[in-house]
């Protein structure tokens, strides 16, 4: 679970992290205000299967392409990426084209996220 950029609203990220943990997953939380480079490096060093990005600052159209781009550069294209936070409907198709598999808005039941991860994670 990663929190890119300059917002401190990490309740959502933590709630999702907890739900995933309770579903039996090992969840690494990066903490707040991460740069795309820090997030991509964490994905690499931890060799994760799934990356969840939470953002509420409105900077998703700047930050997400950078994160995904850096991950590609590092050869991490087999990692499942999903996002959550305050993301306008009209931005979603563009973000999905970048390779972000799903985007969860406010009010999404944690179960939905857990099931999404279970259904989409690839064994590597």
């Amino acid at each position: 679970m990663a929190k890119p950029g300059l917002d401190s609203h990490d309740r959502g990220a933590k709630v999702v992290a907890r739900a995933l943990r309770d579903a039996g997953m090992e969840v690494i939380y990066t903490g707040l205000r991460q740069t795309p480079e820090q997030i991509a490096e964490t994905v690499l060093q931890e060799d994760v299967d799934v990356l969840g990005i939470s953002i509420l600052s409105g900077a998703h159209l700047t930050l997400f392409p950078k994160i995904v781009g850096l991950m590609k550069q590092k050869g991490l294209d087999d990692v499942l990426v999903f996002a959550g936070g305050i993301i306008p409907e009209e931005d979603i198709p563009h973000l999905k084209r970048l390779g972000i598999k799903e985007i969860f808005g406010p009010g999404t039941p944690t179960e939905t996220v857990v099931n999404f991860v279970k259904d989409n994670v690839q064994s590597r």
């Binding site: 992290a17 907890r18 995933l20 943990r21 309770d22 579903a23 039996g24 997953m25 090992e26 969840v27 690494i28 939380y29 990066t30 903490g31 991460q34 740069t35 480079e37 820090q38 490096e41 964490t42 690499l44 060093q45 931890e46 060799d47 590092k74 050869g75 991490l76």
Partner: protein, 325 residues
């Protein structure tokens, strides 16, 4: 054959210090099948060069924050560093929340540092089963110093002595009663003691408590653990801590290092043998139905568990299972 070629390829990349390969190799070690273990076996001849430091102490005393400052201090001196940070697995869900990285993210883009979080996966002792392998992998990849941070430790989480050459026990002010309570266990394994959060009240009191406890176990000519005050949030005291770590390393070099290393290897070997034999034997017993038969006999109070084990031992080896002989 294909798997073996892949293992060789991965090993070559790890030896070159390739970060992706290091990450991959640690995952394979964590997943622990015979094929994946091959990678660690191939890397093993290239290990033994790194300085390995263990960091332990109760939860919440500031271990991760201090590790971050220590790594920065080591980087100033031009050393490359690997970190393995262990956190507990929930015994109920099997999941884990690994938060040590939160304190270390300043380091994540430094090419001279590799940080890996690891869940205990219910291994007792404060470490994960694959922690040792992760240390071997980082060692082989050429890291000068490797720091192992245990999952918050209490009295019995002392497994870090099976890995590290120098052990740092971290406490904080207000742990006075704690020090009493954990006289056994982690208080006995520290080569260096740190009182972190030294900007708080009662830091000196904590130093005195530790001192008093250490004086009880005074062996002439042996290493006397230093007690250092740090404030990890500001980095105060970390340079001194590093000096003390070097001092301990020099002390070990006078002869104790070899003995320690031998003990470490012997423990690792003992555990590997135990695991191998137990796995094999248990597999056989389950397959043949013998296990189930013994369980029902114990359930029927026909025989006690130790008695059953003795019977089995005699059967397998032809020797009496009783230790008295």
């Amino acid at each position: 054959m294909k798997q073996l070629a892949a293992a060789h390829q991965l090993v070559t990349a790890v030896l070159k210090g390739d970060r992706r390969a290091i990450a991959r190799a640690i995952t394979l070690a964590e997943n622990g099948t015979r094929e994946t273990r091959k990678t660690v076996s191939l890397l093993y001849p290239h290990t033994g060069k790194a300085q390995i430091i263990g960091i332990t102490g109760p939860g919440g005393v500031g271990k991760s924050t201090l590790v971050e400052k220590l790594v920065k201090e080591l980087r100033k001196r031009g050393k490359t560093v690997g970190v393995v940070a262990v956190d507990p697995t929930s015994p109920f869900s099997g999941g884990a929340f690994l938060g040590d990285r939160i304190r270390m993210q300043d380091l994540s883009t430094d090419a001279g540092v590799f940080i890996r979080s690891m869940a205990t996966r219910n291994n007792p002792g404060g470490l994960a089963r694959a922690t040792k392998d992760a240390v071997h992998i980082l060692d082989a990849s050429g890291k000068d110093v490797i720091i192992v941070e245990t999952a918050g430790a209490g009295q019995s989480e002392v497994d870090v002595i099976k890995i590290a050459q120098t052990i740092i026990v971290i406490l904080a002010p207000g742990f006075g009663d704690e020090i009493q309570a954990i006289k056994a266990g982690i208080m006995e394994i520290g080569d260096i003691f740190v009182v972190n959060k030294a900007d708080r009240e009662n830091a000196d009191r904590a130093v005195i408590d530790i001192q008093a406890m250490l004086e009880l176990s005074n062996d002439e000519g042996k290493w006397r653990p230093a007690i250092i005050k740090t404030t990890a949030t500001t980095g105060e005291g970390t340079a001194q801590l590093l000096k003390e770590i070097e001092k301990h390393k020099d002390h070990l070099a006078k002869g104790e290092a070899e003995l320690r290393q031998k003990n470490i290897v012997e423990t690792e070997l003992t555990e590997a043998i135990k695991q191998k034999f137990t796995e094999h034997l248990m597999g056989e017993l389950r397959k043949s139905g013998r296990m189930e038969e013994l369980v029902s006999r114990v359930l029927a109070r026909d025989i006690d568990p130790v008695g059953a084990a003795e019977e089995l031992f005699t059967e397998q080896t032809g020797k009496s299972g009783s230790k008295a002989e």
